[in-house]
Amino acid sequence: MHFLITQVLNGLVSGMILFLTAAGLSLIFGLMNVVNVAHGSFFMLGAFVGLSVQQFTGSFWAALLLAPLPALLLGAVMERVFIRPLYRRGHLDQVLLTFGFTFVFVDAVRWLWGSGISSVSVPPVLDGIVRLGGIVVPKYRLFLIFVGLLLALVLWLVIERTRLGAMVRASVDDAPTAEGMGINVPLLQSSVFAAGVGIAALGGAVAAPIIGVYTGMDIEILIPAFIVVVIGGMGSLSGAFFGSVFVGLADTLGRSYLPGLSLFLVYVVMIVVLLTRPAGLFVARRS
């Protein structure tokens, strides 16, 4: 039983890391119909910026706070200059462009930081382990679950309970009508894109103490994040959340109880979902 609870906690941790990436990916797709293959690159960028901030200031908290900023700026510029002209083109063009960006990001990161792996240490208050009954959990992992849940709550409140959120939802549902109602949809699109990649960057910074900081982490997070979006449903925040938890748990429990199948278990789940609920597991069916 202890073993199962430990593995469930581990699954939640990987689910939360996934959520931080998948949330933006899903929203960007929902609002702009853009497949952003470079989304993982912002995850990586956040980790590297966090690393440098921590090396410079010695503060993990400063790193968390500042890590999303370059991604926010770059994201806004990237949306304005490169992605906007492609809105009316097909997904293939968008994938080609953003796929190209992944190479640019990787080479830029290599050039600035080198191709080795670095690690980020956690602040003393989060260092060490907690014993809950017979279960041993590193404090930082609990913190990570907390960050994920907190962010999910904040995002949910913003989108469901604020005027800004209502505007985003309206634009997701029907952009031309929303524009007709006086909503500045292009501005909203830039903002959501920037916020989405900013959250991914925060995800990179917060995951860095666990998975390290290295070139290649972009693709490693991107693929499961895409699976989350497919399973959870595109353009839906709650879909991204439950999809992440679902994939995190399936992957972790699969690795632990069915190690031989672990590598493709998640893909099997995705295929089944695509066949039975092509819109995603956590999306209310629309007529």
Binding site: F3, I17, S115, G212
Partner: protein, 398 residues
């Protein structure tokens, strides 16, 4: 001079080549009699082995630069290709090096899967290949005259650490590694020696290569109640594994030992204090106290502003082997038999200690060291605690 393909270009190697070319007196270049010695360097410059490939190239460049990129009267050219740790790409790049670049020899290959994949081609086309990386014993199981290895064969290091664990930790251990040829090979070598001497392996865990979160497997270890873990990881896997192992508080509960690659100087700074106390076996440590190593470490640090790793040393020794053989041959690489003879007879006082080739398997005969991670002169490094001299891979199977 270093020639790069556009995709794999790095500033450092380009600069190294440019700087080396700049030091050549123009007349010497004109007076060169022979064609340049073209060396195809096939290694992993991307993915989790990127640093390993780079260190290897750095070591080799250092060796050639020390003789102004001359070997046996010929100018040395390195043509670099990235195998991306992908067997198919590796084979394709090897064919390119041999068939269109017409290189005189091929060196490199860190990834076991790539090394095994190119073996048939190397055999069929009599490519002169010096492996300066992958340690999988399968590579030299059927020796061939045109295949040499300057790094190691996995049984060499495994036998030494197996004995150490048995004598110092106990007769029962768990094993864990990445799920690929190199990892499984390493564990099975360890097991062979450990079990032969009366040890028992109570649990084996193989996590996929490039696993970013080991928590699943660490929970498994925690539940298993063992006292000892023998593990094998390299590159970024090694950093994450060692950090998370300490994060879960397993370090004090389960004694961790490994092959030295897991705590080499390419990953040690990133592992930090989490690595303190880990015992490993390897044929090199940058703290080795011999003149060749001191000179090597000093020159390497001057040139690259960091400490060499074992992969840098492999590259350096490969350069030295080629230089010595070319000197014996007077630069003539046209006859495979003579080339084999010249390389096989190379003997070096290498940074790792005395170096010679096993005449049968063409693997190196070298010292194996048991080392412990400790603070040395204010940095984390591997301190040698015991030395097994002149370990030969074929003698271990007798």
């Amino acid at each position: 001079m270093v020639t790069d393909t556009p995709r794999g270009i790095t500033r450092r190697t380009w600069l190294a080549g440019a700087a080396a070319a700049g030091t050549l007196p123009a007349r010497a270049v004109l007076a060169q009699s022979g064609k340049p010695l073209r060396i195809g360097l096939l290694n992993s410059f991307s993915g989790i082995f990127a640093v390993l490939g780079e260190d290897n190239l750095n070591g080799m460049s250092l060796s050639f630069a020390q003789d102004d990129w001359q070997a046996g009267g010929r100018h040395v050219e390195i043509i670099k290709e990235d195998d991306q740790i992908n067997p198919q790409i590796g084979l394709q790049k090897l064919k390119k090096l041999v068939e269109s670049d017409k290189v005189d020899m091929v060196v490199g290959i860190q990834a076991s899967n790539v090394a095994m994949a190119v073996l048939d081609y190397v055999r069929a086309n009599k490519v002169f290949f010096i492996c300066s990386g992958a340690g999988t014993s399968g590579l030299t199981r059927n020796p061939m005259p045109n295949l040499f290895r300057t790094s190691f064969s996995s049984p060499q290091a495994s036998a030494v650490i197996a004995k150490w664990v048995l004598d110092n930790v106990g007769p029962e251990t768990m094993c864990m590694s990445a799920d690929y040829a190199g990892g499984r090979d390493t564990i099975s070598e360890f097991k062979r020696f450990y079990v032969k001497q009366g040890g028992r392996v109570s649990k084996e865990i193989y996590a996929p290569l490039g696993t970013s979160d080991f928590s699943v497997y660490l929970a498994d270890l925690q539940a298993a109640n063992g006292k000892s873990l023998y593990a094998f990881y390299a590159g970024s896997d090694a950093v994450r594994f060692v950090k998370q192992y300490a994060e879960y508080g397993l370090k004090d509960k389960i004694r961790l030992s490994c092959l030295g690659f897991m705590v080499e100087s390419d990953v040690l700074p990133a592992q930090g204090d989490a690595a303190l106390g880990i015992v490993s076996s390897l044929h090199y440590a940058d703290t080795l106290d011999n003149p060749a190593n001191k000179a090597f470490v000093a020159a390497y640090r001057t040139k690259y502003k960091k400490f060499p790793s074992v992969y840098s040393e492999y590259g350096y020794v490969t350069g030295e082997v080629i230089k010595q053989a070319m000197k014996t041959l007077g630069g003539d690489t046209s006859q495979l038999g003579k080339l084999e003879e010249a390389v096989a007879s190379v003997k070096l006082d290498a940074p790792r200690g005395p170096f010679a080739f096993n005449p049968v398997s063409h693997n190196p005969i070298e010292n194996e060291y048991v080392r412990v991670v400790a603070e040395v002169d204010g940095r984390l490094a591997n301190k040698v605690i015991s030395t097994t001299p002149n370990v030969s891979d074929t003698a271990l199977d007798a």
